[in-house]
């Protein structure tokens, strides 16, 4: 039997009614992973997952009720999982077995989730296509030979191709939203500081957001209600109350003010994507949303700003990988990691700091201010996720700058620290397209409300 038609809620109902067991579902997922050729996983936790499934079934029988009890999920191989190899998709960590688990991993396990495997990604989360993995590229499930988007490539694919029911990813400049868009799934980048970064291999610490992939908006809300909250091990998590996210799903869209920033709909944007978004926006308007054209004037500088701050932090964060206490030597860093380490080292070095890094931190203030101003006028902002449709494997690998430009619509949310939700709006030329909904800090509930409306549009 195949369980992919079930939502997480459907699975839980089935468990409770003894229609099927967690073990059956896990076995089904494991066999799907085995048959799958898209290279979504680096490590499959077959033995552990089956054991956990049996335990879960016992608990279900005993009447234990946990939000994710017995639900198989996958985790980007950049989250530390105690006792389970964690590579960051880099040969530098080919043999690394973590001594501890990330806070989020513990929270998910406490909620009953079963980790079915560690997903492939661009090494160290560096990339927009999933091709920078030392364990081979992941492929788009919709069209052979196309990229799934990165860096959380395997996570998006594992959910899109029904190998599990949710997946954890990381988003430093779009690494959840872009692959979600390219793989026709829901991807959330929460507010910076909403979800703990502890135990997740740092890419760029001031930008890294810990989010997830699901097939439905309501499941995205469910997962966030588990992962969100202050962590005493992460000084950048906040005390801000965790919202009742699921309560927003049933809220009417009427009267919600939606801003369309003109800078995101300029000539660089694929015409068909633009039309797709306009159709969705019209539908929202029909249902009572108020649409406004707004301006985020510093958008054009965001990518340059991002490609200074991000590599600078990368160069420092990757300093600990010296092969002494764990892992292999620095010679095993792949090309993209080396490139970013070099770029970051350079922009921080003596004589250049003010011209690059300081300037970028000032530009960041301006970009953040753009959003602060905009959110005085509107509740949410809708933009494209990517300027283009998914591209062919290998198409941009020799041109790093072209690859970097695919992040132009997503890096702004990371620079401003605001949440962003990528929701599917259908296929164009057989390839999936997503739309991005941005909101002020800690407005995830509002994003789910609008996201649910998009999901319900029936377009």
């Amino acid at each position: 039997m195949n369980y992919s038609a079930y939502s997480i809620k459907g699975l839980r109902d089935g468990f409770k009614k003894r229609q099927f067991s967690s073990e059956w579902v896990v076995k089904d997922c494991l066999s799907d992973i085995k048959d799958n050729k898209l290279n979504a996983f680096i490590t499959v936790c077959e033995k552990e997952a089956l054991e956990k499934a049996k335990e879960a079934d016992k608990k279900i029988k005993d009447g234990v009720d946990l939000p994710l009890l017995g639900i198989p999920i996958s985790i980007k191989d950049i989250y530390l999982t105690k006792g389970i190899r964690t590579t960051a998709a880099s040969k530098v960590l080919d043999n690394y077995i973590p001594q501890y688990s990330a806070t989020v991993v513990e929270k998910l396990e406490d909620a009953g989730a079963i980790i079915i495997g560690k997903t492939n990604c661009d090494a160290w989360a560096h990339g927009s296509s999933g091709e920078n993995s030392d364990y081979g590229s992941t492929e788009n499930p919709y069209l052979e030979g196309y990229v799934p988007g990165g860096s959380s490539s395997g996570s998006a694919v594992s959910v899109a191709d029904n190998m599990c029911f949710a997946s954890m990813g990381t988003d430093t400049g779009g690494s959840i939203r872009l692959p979600a868009s390219f793989c026709n799934v829901v991807g959330l980048k929460p507010t910076y500081g909403r979800v703990s970064r502890y135990g997740i291999i740092a890419m760029a610490s001031s930008l890294d957001s810990i989010g997830h992939f699901t097939r439905y908006v309501e499941e995205s809300a469910l997962i966030l209600s588990i992962t969100a909250g202050r962590d005493m091990n992460d000084a950048t998590t906040t005390n801000e109350k965790v919202d009742d996210y699921e309560s927003y799903l049933r809220k009417d869209i009427k009267g919600v003010k939606i801003g369309l920033p003109k800078e995101y709909f300029t000539e660089g944007l694929d015409r068909k994507i633009k039309e797709g978004i306009e159709k969705e926006v019209k539908s929202l308007e029909k249902r009572g949303a108020k649409i406004e054209i707004i301006s985020l004037p510093n958008t054009k500088h965001a990518n340059a700003c991002y490609y200074i701050i991000q590599p600078a932090e990368v160069s420092s964060n990757l300093g600990r990988y010296d092969g002494i206490r764990y892992g292999n030597g620095r010679d095993l860093f792949g090309e993209e990691a080396k490139r970013r380490i070099m770029l970051g080292t350079y922009v921080l070095s003596s004589g250049y700091y003010d011209a690059y890094y300081k300037k970028a931190m000032q530009a960041r203030t301006l970009i953040k201010k753009d959003f602060d101003d905009a959110f005085k006028e509107v509740d949410v902002i809708i933009t494209p996720v990517s300027p283009t449709l998914p591209w062919k494997l290998g198409e941009k690998t020799s041109d790093p700058l072209a690859m970097y430009l695919s992040d132009i619509y997503t890096v702004t949310a990371n620079l401003a620290g605001i949440p962003g939700l990528s929701v599917p709006i259908g296929l164009i030329d057989d390839l999936p397209v997503g739309m991005q909904i941005l909101g002020p800090h800690f407005s995830e509930g509002r994003l789910f409300q609008v996201g649910q409306a998009v999901e319900d549009s029936g377009l």
């Binding site: 950048t236 380490i341 070099m342 770029l343 000032q362 530009a363 960041r364 620079l415």
Partner: protein, 91 residues
């Protein structure tokens, strides 16, 4: 913008092949040219943003918590001697 790849690689403790050095010199110059568009932004009297949360004064009380046992601390390396990590002699 000419970047001294050898010097930067040394600062970054990154062993690069001659080929990589050449490749990076070209690519990094292109990327730097691109990011230098920031020069056109007027940032006079603009504060820096190094963190986005606005949080301040986050600290912990001076209390101890358990450490890793020695065998766990050393678990991921093979180069061990008398409970210590072992490397080639450094100055």
């Amino acid at each position: 913008m000419k970047i001294n790849v050898k010097h930067v690689a040394k600062l970054a403790n990154l062993p690069l092949s001659d080929e990589e050095e050449k490749k990076f010199e070209k690519q990094l110059s292109e990327i730097l040219t691109y990011i230098e568009q920031l020069n056109s932004v007027d940032t006079k009297n603009v504060e820096i943003t190094s963190q986005i949360t606005g949080l301040e004064n986050i600290s912990r009380d001076d209390k101890t918590s358990p450490s890793l046992p020695q065998d766990e601390a050393l678990f991921n390396t093979k180069s061990i001697h008398n409970g210590m990590f072992k490397v080639k002699k450094v100055l």
